[in-house]
Amino acid sequence: MNAHLQERRIILKHADDPSYSNLIGCYLREGGYETLKKAFAMKPEEVGEEVLKSGVRGRGGAGFPAGMKWKFLDRKSGKPIYLICNADESEPGTFKDRQIMYKDPHQLIEGMMIAAYAIGAKQAFIYIRAEFHEGARILNRAIQEAKDNGYCGDNILGSSYSCDLVVHRGAGAYICGEETGLIESLEGKRPNPRIKPPYFPAVLGLYQCPTIVNNVETLCNVRHIIEMGGEEFAKIGKPNNTGTRIWCVSGQVMKPGYYEFECGALTLGEMIFGVCGGLRPGRSLKAVIPGGSSSKILRADERFSGKLKDGTEFDWGLEDIPLDFDGPASVGSMSGSGGIIVMDDTVDIVEAMANINAFYAHESCGQCTPCREGSLWMRKITQRMCSGGAREEDADLLLSVANQIEGRTICAFGEAAAWPTQSFVTKFRDDFIKKASETVEEKNSRKLQLI
């Protein structure tokens, strides 16, 4: 394999080392909690400055710069400040936070305690999806180990700063990954997201107090930023796309899995055909969903051209798209949570759509009429199309439903549910039209069932 297709593991450096376990001994052996000591020798604002300088963007989906988010904290209110780690990991196609929490939990705890110190948090929480039974146990044990060693809890490192860290389990609802839904859930309520403005967590978050919500991978990066300094960190990757990212590749490639690379180190094509060993013999690429199931689908034979933010022009095929934040965004999709879902030519695109629509219909919290009803309609239409009842006008019907959701809802779930339908139907219009004339033989000849 080409040298530049070698992973650069920072966050997952030890995760799969056979001699490295998730106990604190291994973490300390590898220099763990030294960075916490370094951070505590700095002023909290200085820690925040380094994170700002690093340019690190959130790894949970939206890619918002973490340092900037921390700056938005309302410190004047005098209310307690809270830190929440979003460990709900529920965007289909994403399985990176799991690797961190199960295999190297202390890295997250150290990152969180540094972040908590920087923002002056009174208390910190890890909101973990309930399917991660063992993950919650591992974290609880690790937190106890950290407390026993003075790295967490009362008087951290003998200082006057104390911050408890509590693991809170969800109960199987995707919407708890949306930060304001998460906060409602953590308050013991139904996870109905709150409208922004005014409910930006940094101002009116948990118990209406200023709150920072960051993803697991983002908080781990904080530890490395402080260790190497913000400016050094910013040299990894590319401007505006700093650090590494853990890409999760799933679907029809030979070697699916999680791969950590510097941002922009490789293209989507190099990832699929190099790192992941390409497709199964005799198959060709049909489409890729680049950033979790909510992101807009890309067609294998599409051409993308336009101008990057810095003014340079590009003319790319799917394989040329750089894997960082800006690459997938500049072709009209997004890198989202880093979940790359690969589909080959055996896939029936309408069935894939029906599968995704079933997910969103199941997960809508139901507060907003366009989202609740629209996601159900999109599921029903695509399901009917796949059970022999497709009509040519369904393509337009689907688009009109999706278009009536986007921009008309309380939270971004509305977009997350509409984007797949909008992009599938627009880009694969022929497949949707053709569905109406599909014969039973054609349908039965497909081995892979997706709905």
């Binding site: 056979p18 490295y20 376990s21 998730n22 307690p80 990991e89 529920s90 965007e91 289909p92 196609g93 994403t94 399985f95 936070d97 799991r98 199960y102 295999k103 208390q123 999806r129 309930a130 399917e131 039974h133 063992e134 591992i138 509590v166 809170h168 389990r169 969800g170 109960a171 199987g172 609802a173 995707y174 859930s185 308050e187 013991g188 309520k189 139904r190 996870p191 118990y207 999760c248 590749v249 799933s250 679907g251 029809q252 699916p256 899995g257 999680y258 969903i289 199931s293 879902i341 589909m343 896939v347 894939a352 599968n355 997910f359 199941h362 997960e363 892979l448 069932q449 997706l450 709905i451």
Partner: protein, 182 residues
């Protein structure tokens, strides 16, 4: 507090431990529900009332959670609960066939409990292990690449109570536990 649900000492003490961890009692609701459900298998109206009482809430405040969250139950699953991931990445690797073969082998329809209460089967949304799909969770353990013939074999081992000893299907959790023991 009296103990009309007959919860074990262990569960009661865990509840006492978890409630004060939160700045507001109500925040402990999900964690307390989990603890009660782990022991009783489900949270019925009577249990809702008890939990509400414990947290100084109204029963509806608990009931509305039990009815919302997919993993909270008003009726118990079977003694062994099998979850198969349904979502696209797993489906692309054959999870629909896996679910069907489990339905046949275990003798229970997806979403249901077998009549004798032994097994239940659930076709779930993404379990965050999409790279190694189809993903299957049995009770609390996660198994990867359970597709095609392997799915049949998996169901047989499960039915024979031999899944835990099998080398072919080591769970994600057990693989990690082995590391900490070494």
């Amino acid at each position: 507090m009296s103990n009309p649900l007959n919860l074990s000492e262990n569960t009661l003490s865990k509840i006492d431990e978890v409630v004060p961890k939160y700045p507001e009692k109500r925040s402990a609701a999900l964690m307390v529900i989990h603890l009660v459900q782990d022991e009783l298998g489900a949270v019925n109206d009577f249990a809702c009332e008890w939990i509400a009482n414990r947290l100084d809430l109204q029963p509806i405040n608990i009931k509305e959670l039990v009815t919302f969250y997919p993993m909270l139950r008003e009726k118990p699953w079977g003694r062994k609960h099998v979850r198969v991931c349904r979502t696209l990445p797993c489906a692309l690797r054959g999870s629909y066939a896996t679910c069907k073969s489990f339905e046949k082998k275990l003798g229970v329809k997806e979403g249901h409990v077998r009549e004798d209460g032994e097994y239940s089967l659930e076709f779930m949304e993404c379990l965050a292990d999409c790279g190694q799909g189809p993903v299957v969770i049995v009770d609390e353990k996660t198994y990867e690449n359970v597709d095609g013939d392997r799915a049949e074999k998996f169901a047989d081992l499960l039915l024979d109570g031999k899944l835990d000893e099998s080398d072919e299907f080591q769970s994600y959790e057990d693989a990690l536990l082995k590391k900490t023991e070494e």
